[in-house]
């Protein structure tokens, strides 16, 4: 553990908590001794009248892109899908690429909040709120694309089993309809999970609020939470149930998305490896996006003691693991294409790597297979500038992965006379960039007005939260906890 010399309060300041000492738990909350300090640190971000200038710059850019999204969508609706570059045989291109990309991003949040919760990974508390919010905003972005790509947007309710004038129903044997159910369930459940987890923190903001408007706004959304232990009992049980329900859900969502491709007959899509491969890719890109967002956010809002280097290190490890799975899947796809003996399948993969989209494939492999392997080195895993750069690279790579899967397979299918080369139009590109505008607008609003870190949950993992804390001074925690046993009323 790297420490700096004592600060003004006579405490050593820990800056690096990434070292592994057997038999000792690395602290997850640094340089904070009291619960009050955690509250103060997180709540102040939402309370301060002085918004960081970086926030305004980011928000202005995001709003601009959001405007572009609105414009592109309106243009599409008023003119028709011809404004996009896609055409038979490439009937899906940027729209579904963006859809799969955003749904994938949306997987890290639930993974952190649900799966890591079930595995009792306490470090999740520093980043779970953050990642859950990201999930919800990413799924919002994802939801736009299937909605607008149908052509006649005003008929989009035909996706749902609602009685209509044709007296017809959606076709439940189609994976496209499973997708409707999977994504809408995922959005609903992750929103519930996010909101349920936020209620105690909204109550914190309510109790600290000074102005009447803030009191009312936070008070309404805190639903009258008063920290009653009889409530906490049911709340914790509900949270565990939500985690247990979300775990299979998150795995099912991207599996169902992959069924859109895997159940078709198209070479390059018709593979059984798709569900696990898509889930691994989703987690991979989702964690990269969490790193992309966490690095600037902890800097701008001064949360380095709560989103510590150890959190980032852990996330980079997950990027490494899932990136390796993705690399394995790429290799296995090629192997099976050869091993199957199917000439169309073989052609599809050779064409993918060396055909007209070879550059997209090269970007995909270099970003997704080679880059994450750098995370084997601890120096890279714990270097803020490098991890930020690599997380961007992974995001780009994962966008290209979806592009490669969708477009190369469609552009060169069975009949060479109908081959096509897809070129995006400015509307395609504008819509893609605009979705980032929506994502970042929502995210920046969240950072500014809501508790960015799960305050109550972070308090739970502090050593002071143990009711028997300070009773056994002879155990291995003693040295580390000694200074915090004395009550300090001096929050920095």
């Amino acid at each position: 553990m790297t420490t700096l010399p004592a600060d003004g309060f006579g405490r050593e300041r820990i800056v690096d908590n990434t070292s592994e000492t057997p038999g000792e738990r690395a602290p997850l909350v640094l340089n904070m001794d009291t619960f009050g300090e955690v509250t103060e640190k997180v709540a102040r971000v939402a309370e301060t009248p002085r918004t960081p200038i970086a926030w305004y710059i980011g928000f202005a850019g995001s709003l601009g892109l959001l405007g572009l999204l609105g414009f592109c969508i309106l243009y599409l609706i008023f003119t028709g899908v011809g404004v996009w570059g896609l055409n038979t045989p490439v009937a899906w291109a940027y729209d579904i690429t963006n859809f799969v990309f955003w749904v994938g991003i949306g997987h890290a949040g639930t993974l952190i909040s649900a799966i890591l919760f079930l595995f009792r990974q306490n470090w999740r508390t520093g980043v779970n709120r953050f990642a859950e919010s990201m999930t919800i905003f990413a799924v919002m972005c994802a939801g736009i694309f299937p909605g607008i790509h149908v052509g006649r947007v005003w008929c989009v309710y035909w996706l749902f089993p609602l009685p209509n004038q044709m007296e017809m129903w959606p076709q439940f044997r189609s994976p496209l309809l499973w997708d409707v159910f999977a994504v809408s369930t995922y959005f609903t459940v992750s929103s519930l999970f996010w909101y349920t987890g936020m209620i105690p923190d909204l109550a914190t903001l309510r109790d600290r609020a000074k102005g009447r408007i803030r009191q009312l706004a936070y008070g309404l959304f805190a639903l009258g939470w008063r920290g009653s232990n009889r409530h906490w009992h049911r709340y914790e049980r509900a949270y565990l149930l939500l985690a247990a329900l979300s775990t299979p859900l998150v795995l099912s969502v991207h599996s169902v998305v992959s069924f859109d491709f895997a159940t078709s007959q198209l070479p390059g899509w018709h593979t059984t490896i798709f569900p696990p491969y898509f889930v691994a890719g989703a987690v991979f890109s989702g964690f990269a996006m969490v790193v992309t967002l966490a690095v600037p956010a902890r800097e701008v809002f001064g949360l380095k003691n709560l989103i510590t280097l150890r959190h980032l290190d852990n996330m980079n490890k997950i990027v490494l693991v899932t990136g390796s799975m993705v690399g394995y899947a790429y290799a296995m796809e090629f192997f099976i294409a050869w091993y199957s003996g199917a000439i169309y399948e073989k052609f599809a993969f050779i064409n993918r790597a060396f055909g007209q989209y070879w550059w997209a494939y090269a970007i995909m492999v270099s970003c997704n297979v080679i880059t994450p392997q750098l995370f084997w080195f601890k120096a890279i895993r714990t270097s803020i500038p490098i991890m930020f750069f690599l997380s961007l690279v992974v995001n780009i790579g994962m966008w290209f992965e979806r592009f490669v899967i969708i477009v190369t397979s469609l552009a060169n299918d069975f009949l060479p006379s109908s081959w096509e080369f897809f070129t995006p139009t400015w509307v395609d590109i504008g819509t893609m960039l605009g979705a980032f505008g929506l994502f970042f607008t929502m995210f920046l609003l969240f950072c500014r007005f809501l508790p960015m870190i799960a305050i109550a949950e972070v308090k739970m993992i502090m050593p002071q939260a143990d009711p028997h804390h300070g009773e056994h001074h002879d155990d291995h925690h003693a040295h580390e906890d000694e200074p915090s046993a004395a009550p300090t009323g001096d929050a920095p």
């Binding site: 109550a203 109790d207 232990n229 509900a238 149930l241």
Partner: protein, 220 residues
């Protein structure tokens, strides 16, 4: 971030929001709150309050304190059982939805008259179970999650816009770093001075009486 270490006389609930004029004593007492500074203290206090035989009481904490459920003698919630049945309802509902819309020609009344439409897709059986399973799974999760959250809130008596405890300024720290034991006035063993002395003996840093604005809601 200063902590009040002194015991505030309980006759003075002054400073509570909503009391601007008149005698605060005109309002009925909701109960006594005792403030503690650490999870360990509130855990010990909870043990004592339960042993003393109080029934209408609670602990309010900024986060769930490990072991407090046991110390308070809280019975396990029936929420998981509710969720199980909700999930099963979802499974069956999704199956019926798919079988009705895609594999039957029945007419039923569901707000409006609707008729099933048997689709024959690539010669698959009408009731294509494998194809129906993804939607059945998703609806199961959806029903379960909705029941989890709304069941939890309903059983907790939330949302509510106000609670007598919010009349106390001191109580605002419950979502920050203070731990409270609350004994309600309706408890048969509640006797203002005796309960107050009892709470002080448990090591509370402060004991305060909280007034209720509206007793009718709590009369049950």
């Amino acid at each position: 971030m200063t902590s009040t270490q002194t015991t505030i006389p309980t006759q003075a609930p002054g400073g509570a929001p909503g009391i601007d004029t008149g005698d605060p004593d005109l309002r009925p007492a909701y109960g006594l709150i005792a403030e503690f500074e650490s999870p360990g203290e509130v855990l010990k206090a909870a043990e004592e309050v339960r042993k003393a035989g109080y029934r209408w009481w609670d602990c309010c904490t900024p986060f769930p304190v490990h072991g407090l459920d046991g110390a308070m003698g809280i019975k396990p919630t029936i929420l998981p059982i509710m969720v199980f049945f909700a999930g099963m309802t979802g499974t069956i509902a999704a199956f019926i939805l798919q079988a009705f819309t895609n594999a039957s020609s029945l007419s039923i009344w569901a707000l409006v008259w609707v008729t099933g439409y048997p689709y024959l897709i690539s010669g698959k059986p009408m009731i294509s179970m494998p194809a129906f399973i993804p939607v059945m799974f998703e609806v199961t999760i959806l029903f379960s999650a909705l029941t989890t959250v709304f069941g939890m809130f309903t059983m907790n008596g939330l949302p509510r816009l106000h609670h007598p405890l919010f009349n106390s300024d001191r109580f605002r720290k419950v979502t920050d770093d203070r731990f409270f034991v609350v004994i309600e006035a309706r408890d048969p063993k509640y006797f203002r001075s005796r309960t107050e002395a009892f709470l002080e003996s448990l090591g509370a840093t402060a004991v305060e009486e909280v007034r209720d604005d509206d007793m009718t809601e709590e009369m049950d």
